[in-house]
């Protein structure tokens, strides 16, 4: 018998591609193409939020500019951007570790990725969502003008786009940046902010779960130079989550 005893091989070395594949490289390529098709559906889903953003921004540009300056802190957004970029870089290094057959490199880099993702979510929940919830800066019908601009003389107007609701608008609100007063369409801005960032945050959370799964696989020596398909696809997913944040950050926090 010239056949090597499989007990001597690590799982990734003994990996056999599915019987419908010519070889392991074809299998990896096919899996990646499938992942890209899935990512295409993800992009199209998020583009719905971007479209809503564009439509309402076009309708109420000043209101949105003021609202993004008032309701969101760019420092939090910038810190989260840097953290997500770092996590993307480390997951690239984790894939490099798999290609070089270095288990420690995979595990440490995935651990840093997890820490970055946890940092992102903790900042998002603790420093953005929770204070906003306390202040009533919630999406849609739950929105309340809690304590803002009550000292201003408010003119009651009927907004034909707000489904016949009566909304209060402080006169001359936009000429005093230091005295922010709520404007008629703040709740639309916050609705788009909440739905887009919450969907993105859910993706980060799902990413943490699948990266944890990848860490278990790496721990069991299932990733190596000849087989790391799921790690590769998790990396693609994670980079897409990063790209979406690259667009969300300036749109929501800066411009």
């Amino acid at each position: 018998m010239t056949t090597t005893d499989t007990h001597d091989l690590k799982p990734h070395e003994a990996y056999i591609p599915g019987h419908h594949w010519r070889n392991a490289e074809d299998e990896l390529e096919g899996a990646k193409l499938g992942m890209w098709l899935f990512l295409a559906t993800e992009v199209l889903m998020f583009s719905g939020f971007f479209c809503a953003y564009a439509v309402f921004r076009m309708l109420y540009p000043e209101n949105w500019h003021e609202a993004s300056r008032h309701y969101l802190n760019w420092k939090i957004g910038a810190a989260n951007t840097a953290v997500l970029l770092l996590s993307s870089f480390t997951i690239v290094l984790a894939i490099r570790g798999a290609q070089l057959g270095k288990r420690g490199m995979i595990l440490w880099n995935l651990l840093i990725t997890q820490a970055c993702a946890a940092f992102f979510l903790i900042v998002k929940l603790g420093w953005e969502y929770w204070p906003k919830y306390k202040k009533g800066e919630l999406p849609g019908a739950n929105f309340m003008y809690a304590g803002h601009g009550t000292e201003h003389a408010a003119a009651t107007v009927t907004d034909p786009t707000a489904m016949g609701q009566i909304v209060e608008v402080a006169a001359g609100a936009h000429d005093a940046a230091q005295h922010f007063a709520p404007m008629a369409h703040d709740q639309i801005f916050l609705s788009v902010y909440w739905i887009a960032t919450a969907t993105h945050g859910l993706h980060v959370f799902i990413g943490m779960l699948v990266i944890a799964w990848a860490m278990i696989k790496a721990w069991k020596w299932q990733y190596g130079p000849r087989h790391y398909t799921s790690l590769e696809n998790i990396g693609l997913y994670w980079h897409l989550v990063d790209i979406i944040w690259i667009f969300l950050f300036p749109l929501l926090y800066l411009v």
């Binding site: 056949t3 003994a14 010519r22 990896l28 970029l85 290094l93 490099r96």
Partner: protein, 206 residues
């Protein structure tokens, strides 16, 4: 049956028609460290640039101050974001090293997104051309401004000029009021902003 054709690593070969070499074929591009590190550094730099650019309100060219409108800020921020996304896609997601099929999928996706958002914007910005009644609804800064009495500020190139029809209407009305009553009543039954020739509204001599 014969051991000579058995692969040397797995105990059995499901691909009896393939040679062992074909079956073991696996050549992938090993991710390099330094290019990826520099891409990461550039991404951080571009993030800082985005933050900085959002606080630049204009540029000084000689004696001329060119103010940046909100649209300019959006275009700058989105331009940088597209560059960042391209870097992530090309290097981190290694589209640069992949077979071109994945890039085809990405291109089709981008085409779909541009179609989706672009046509929505086109619709929104051109509704008033079709239906003047709608023009009051689609309005820079929101409709509340009409009622609050504040009507002047910088205009986005995408935003329509809201007062075009109103000014024309006021002009027509002024001309009609200056004319005799019969003409005025006749005019009132017409469209308020019809394209009737100006001679019809000219004041008649008493």
């Amino acid at each position: 049956m014969s051991d000579a054709h058995a692969p040397d690593f797995a105990g059995f070969d499901p691909h009896e028609t393939l040679s062992t070499d074909e079956y073991k074929h696996f050549h992938v591009h090993v991710t390099p460290f330094w290019p990826m590190f520099w891409v990461f550094a550039i991404l951080l730099f571009l993030t800082a640039l985005t933050v900085w650019s959002s606080n630049v309100h204009g540029i000084q060219v000689g004696n001329t101050w060119i103010a940046f409108s909100g649209l300019v800020h959006i275009l700058i921020a989105m331009g940088i974001a597209v560059v960042k996304a391209t870097l992530v896609g090309a290097y981190f997601m290694h589209l640069k090293y992949d077979k071109p099929m994945n890039t085809v999928v990405v291109s089709a996706t981008i085409f779909g997104v541009v179609l989706f958002i672009g046509l929505s914007m086109l619709d929104l910005s051109s509704r008033a051309l079709v239906d003047p009644i709608q023009s009051g609804e689609i309005y820079k800064g929101g409709n509340y401004k009409l009622y609050a009495g504040s009507n002047s500020d910088e205009t986005s190139p995408l935003a329509r000029k809201p007062d075009a029809n109103a000014a024309k209407f006021a002009q027509d009305e002024a001309k009609a009021n200056a004319g005799n009553h019969a003409l005025n009543e006749e005019h009132a039954t017409q469209e308020p902003h019809s394209d009737a020739p100006a001679e019809d509204h000219a004041p008649q001599p008493h």
